[in-house]
Amino acid sequence: MNIFDRMVALDRRWVFLFLFVVVALAYFFRSQFSVGVVTTGEVESIYNFIENAQPGEKILVSFDYDPSSLAELHPMSRAIMLHCFRKGVKVVTVTLSQYGAGMVEEITREVSAEASELYGREIVYGEDYCFIGYRPYPAFVILGMGENFRVFFPRDYYDTPLDEIPIMHRVRNYDDLKGVIAITSGTTSDMWIIYGNARYNMPLSLGVTGVMATDYYPYLGNALFGLIGGWKGAAEYEKLVKQEADANEGMPAQVVAHLTIVLFIVIGNLGYLMTERKKKITV
C-alpha cells in the first residue's frame, strides 16, 4: 500500500481525532490569536443601514428565539443593539417566541448597561429602547403590528400604556420605523417575509442560525436588505462595530475546523486522483 492508497482509505477515526484536538486547542487558546474575519455584503448592508440612520430614528428588533438557540443568536443581538445605542438609534423590541420574554428582558438590560458604560451616557428604558412583550400566533402579530402596534400590544411588557412611552409616541406601525430586524431561530422568519415584508413592504433583514441561513440568501436584495447567519455573521457584525466578543472568540475554532475539513478533502482527492491515474497506466 503506497501513500496515495493510504490517503484514500484513511480511517475516519483519524479525521475525528484530528478534528477534536484541533478544535479543542483553538478553543483553549482562542484569546492568543485572532482571525481576520472577512465581512460580507449582506452583513455590511445591515451595518450601513444603522450607520446611516439619523439619531432619534427608530427600528424594531424582534427576538424570535428561545434560550436553546441563545448561544448562536445572542452575539448578533448584542452587536446590533450596541450599534443602535452608539448611533442614538432607538430600539423597539418584541418577541414572538413563547419562551423568549424573560430572555429578551435580560438581554436588553445587559446590553443597555454595557452601552451606558461604553458610550458614557445613560441608556434609558422608554427613551432609548423599550420592550413591548410577547403575543402568540406570530403571523397574526406580524400582520397586526402592520396595522397598529396597539392592536396586540396596548401596553408594553411592564404594563405601561404604549402612548406613555416616549419612543412609541407617534409610532403607529412599520411605516413610522426605519426598519425591522428579526433575529429568529424558526419559522417566524418566513412569516416576517410573507406577512411582514410582502404585505407592508417595510425594510426587513434577518438574523438566523447557521443551518437556516442558506434558505434565506435567495431573499436578499428583494425581501431582505441584509442577513446575518450564525456565528460567522455575528463575528462580522462585531468586527464592524468594533465590539469583538463571543462570536469572535468562537471564530478560531471555526476557522481551524473548516481548514481541517478542507485539508482532509484535499488529501482525499489527491490520493484519489493519483490512484486513479496509476490504475489507468496499469490497465
Binding site: 477515526r13 479543542a24 443551518v211 441561513a213 442558506t214 450564525g230 460567522k232 468562537g250 475546523a257 473548516h258
Partner: protein, 247 residues
C-alpha cells in the same frame, strides 16, 4: 484471563475511579452529565459497553419522559379537563369550573379503539383512529401545500429579468435573474416523471441536476459552521463546567 478481557477490566476500574474522584471533587450531578457525554463520544472510536449503557439509559428515560409529558400536558388538561372538569380540579384548579365538553368523548373512544389492536382479532378497529388522523391532516396538507409551495412560489419567481439600477443597466443582476429563471425551469424538468430525459428535454434535466448539485454542496458547506458550534458547546461543558479548565 485473556488479554482483551484484562484491558476491559482495567478500563472499567479506571472509569469507576475517575467517576468517584470526580464526584468527590465536582459533585455528582455535573459528573453524571460529563461521563455520559464521554460515553457517547466513545462511540466515535467504536461500539463499546459504555456507549451501550448510555444509549439504553437514554432510550428508557426519554420514552418515559415523553409519556409523562403527553399525559400531564395533553391528556389531563385537554381530555379529562374538558370531559369532566371536577376530575382534574385537584391538579389544575383553574379548569375546575369550566363547563364540560361532551364532544371530547370522541377522541376518548378513538383512542381506545386504537388500543384495541393489542387484542387479537380486533386490530381492524384501530384503523378508524388512523383514518381519522390521516384524513384530517391530508385535508389540511392539500390546501397548505398548494398555497405555500405552489401559488406563493409563482408569485415569488415572477420578477423582472431585466434589472436597471440608478447606475443604468445592471448586467450582473440581470444575469443572475436569468440564471434563477432557467434554473427553476430546468430543476422542474428534472422532476418530470412521465417524459423520457432525451434530447432538449434531457439537456434541461441535466442543467437541472447540475443546479441541484451545486446547491447541495453549498448547503453542506454552510452547515459545517453550525455543527462545529455544537461541538464547541460540548467542549465548553467538558472543559469549562466540569473540569474548570477554561472560563
Amino acid at each position: 484471563m485473556s488479554k482483551t478481557k484484562m484491558t476491559a477490566w482495567v478500563v472499567f476500574a479506571f472509569v469507576i475511579i475517575a467517576f468517584a474522584v470526580s464526584v468527590a471533587l465536582k459533585g455528582a450531578l455535573v459528573t453524571v452529565g460529563a461521563f455520559l457525554t464521554l460515553f457517547i463520544f466513545s462511540f466515535l472510536y467504536k461500539d463499546n459497553p459504555y456507549y451501550k449503557f448510555a444509549e439504553h439509559l437514554f432510550v428508557g428515560v426519554s420514552a418515559a419522559y415523553w409519556m409523562c409529558m403527553g399525559f400531564w400536558g395533553t391528556m389531563v388538561p385537554n381530555l379529562f379537563g374538558k370531559l369532566y372538569p371536577p376530575m382534574v380540579g385537584g391538579v389544575l384548579p383553574a379548569l375546575k369550573d369550566n363547563p364540560a365538553e361532551p364532544f371530547m368523548i370522541i377522541p376518548l373512544i378513538l383512542g381506545i379503539l386504537l388500543l384495541m389492536r393489542l387484542a387479537p382479532n380486533a386490530g381492524w378497529i384501530s384503523r378508524w383512529a388512523l383514518a381519522f388522523i390521516v384524513g384530517t391532516t391530508a385535508g389540511l396538507n392539500l390546501v397548505r401545500y398548494l398555497r405555500s409551495d405552489f401559488i406563493q412560489q409563482i408569485n415569488n419567481t415572477t420578477f423582472s429579468l431585466y434589472i436597471s439600477s440608478a447606475a443604468g443597466f445592471d448586467f450582473g443582476q440581470t444575469m443572475s435573474n436569468i440564471v434563477i429563471f432557467i434554473g427553476v425551469l430546468c430543476g422542474l424538468i428534472y422532476f418530470f416523471f412521465s417524459k423520457e430525459h432525451k434530447g432538449a428535454f434531457g439537456a434541461g434535466a441535466r442543467v437541472g441536476i447540475i443546479v441541484l448539485m451545486v446547491t447541495f454542496g453549498a448547503s453542506f458547506g454552510y452547515t459545517v459552521m453550525a455543527r462545529i458550534s455544537l461541538l464547541v458547546g460540548r467542549m465548553q461543558f467538558l472543559f469549562g463546567d466540569w473540569l474548570g479548565m477554561i472560563k
